[in-house]
Symmetry: C2
Subunit: 342 residues, 2 copies
């Protein structure tokens, strides 16, 4: 997608291998206040995003990550604390660090609980989430479990019928394990478009589809810059708005962390992500559906994959994955990241 | 909505009180093979639908209910069996009856597990679901718990990009408890329009919005009859299609019951609902978010309700509820139901 956009808009790119991307990320995090554990978790997050072509969640995020490390809003040396509130409720206190390390520490505990009991939830607080959600739901699926995750953010999205923001772009991810195969992974903003995608469209001088958002006067516009100073809309009208509401309630209300409007009020506006929560759910299909669950589900997947024109969510991203070659990265972005290495 | 449609299309209606609706439902179910427990559970489902103006899930469904009782596909004397597979996995075997009695027996067990442990799931099998989902998620919310429910059906909906059906209209419901208040309740088909709504539009001679579905040649149409012989589309493009897929996987794959395509292949096509499963989730917010969870969430709800143009899901239905007066019911439908009383 980066390549495609670049070709259309003629933006200069630099070719980097995944190792080179990892080395760059490692350097910038370790030189901006992160300890070894946080540096490695953040680097893994950036590299897997670039590996899968998940452009808006990789290197693109680094200036924001660094801004909040430098302002002191985010703790680069956070030691996440994982506890059981009940045998199936896992609590992760993020100590105001970035989410990746807290997720890496919490998911195995969540997965153990779900494997034993059939279902478990994880409530993450005091953490700063600035990446995609599929790394955590894919990690749950790698344990053979159904995974779901939700976060909210800052109010950028108006509910259906409204013109003022209250929701974050509120992504939801859902992963379905397929033993011996790549899992089926949904990861989508409940906004008509993720804010990172709107920012990239603005940077590359592209228009966005009508219905993506409203300008500051509350009128529909295709100009991404006008939407960034106005408001995004949920996908899919009132039904998408209901899903955005569900995500907001799970990620903040169920977890006991800030709603998007509270996060914005408390944030220091340094350009990095506000403090927030994350809701995660893991389900052991074997304990609900019995030992033949996977074989049964593959019947469905085979039928789905035979449908002309249809595509399983996540399959485009997973197709990018085996391409071990270099990635074309926006040259300005690389220069900015290098300048952040002291 | 019945009234509104009737006014526009000039369809004759009969005024019935909720007691009269209940008496009619009770008579038709008990005279068509239901025992007392199933008759009462089905009657409650019909009456609460009509009470809330949930037109497509009340009396409208009775001819279908009766068709499957008469064909022998559905067991009117089913005794649902509720068991614990683990302390947080509740299994309900429906004995091929209609869902309402199985739900009424299962939900208290699910709620007890969630209250003790923080989260629990319910996997319902061998049941025939032909109603809305909000009765069960509202019942979960009445226990002070967050509730979610999913069912699939028969393939009427093409995935985004496809032209052949694989999903049911695949509703999802999500209820949020608000102590001392009516809960917030989402209940929506993941199809652009519920099949019952398309059928009602066809009956009343109305058009449906473009994007609701494709005709039998795979072309967009606003004619509900053409869609009924063609295919529905998911709401919200590829994102809504992903939610429809999630519902299909939870309601069938996670539960160990028939996918929509399997349900259609096994069904006797008597006009009533096929055998299927239901997935339910209940979460105790107190055990995740702590004792102040409700007060925290009300801050969010107050802010939401203050937004000009925005409306909480379920609020229109809940507004219909206190109106204790008579309901205007399609006269032909009442005549057909009366004729089904032997």
């Amino acid at each position: 997608m980066a390549h495609h956009m670049s070709e259309r808009s003629g933006v200069a790119t630099i070719s980097l291998s995944l190792d080179e991307i990892g080395a760059l990320a490692n350097r910038v995090f370790s030189q901006n206040g992160c300890d070894e554990a946080n540096t490695q978790a953040l680097t893994r997050t950036v590299v897997t995003a670039e590996r899968d072509g998940s452009l808006s969640h990789g290197l693109f995020r680094i200036p924001g990550y660094v801004a909040s490390l430098r302002s002191g809003k985010v703790n680069g040396k956070a030691r996440p604390v994982v506890t059981h509130k009940t045998p199936v409720v896992v609590s992760v206190y993020g100590e105001n660090g970035y989410a990746p390390l807290a997720i890496e520490r919490g998911v195995p505990v969540l997965a153990d609980a779900a494997k034993k009991m059939g279902v478990a939830v994880m409530a993450m607080t005091h953490s700063h989430h600035f990446a995609a959600l599929w790394p955590e739901t894919e990690a749950i699926a790698a344990h053979g479990l159904i995974g779901m995750a939700c976060v909210c953010y800052m109010p950028f999205v108006a509910p259906h019928g409204g013109r003022k923001p209250i929701f974050g772009t509120n992504p939801i991810s859902f992963a379905w394990p397929r033993p011996g195969k790549t899992p089926m992974v949904i990861d989508m903003a409940t906004a008509a478009m993720a804010q990172g995608e709107v920012q990239i469209a603005a940077r590359e001088g592209l228009q966005v589809p009508l219905g993506t958002g409203l300008d500051s006067r509350g009128e529909l516009t295709t100009n991404p810059n006008e939407i960034l100073s106005g408001v995004l809309l949920p996908f899919g009208g009132y039904k998408g708005s209901a899903i955005a509401l569900m995500v907001e309630l799970l990620a903040a209300g169920a977890v006991g962390e800030r709603f998007s409007f509270e996060a914005a009020e408390a944030d220091n506006k340094d350009g990095g992500p506000p403090r927030g929560g994350e809701f995660m759910l893991a389900i052991e299909p074997k304990l609900l559906a019995g030992p033949d669950w996977a074989e049964h589900c593959e019947k469905f997947f085979r039928r789905f994959e035979a449908l002309e024109g249809a595509r399983l969510p996540g399959s485009r991203r997973h197709k990018n994955r085996p391409a071990g070659g270099k990635r074309d990265i926006n040259a300005d972005l690389v220069a900015r990241i290098r300048a952040l290495c002291q």
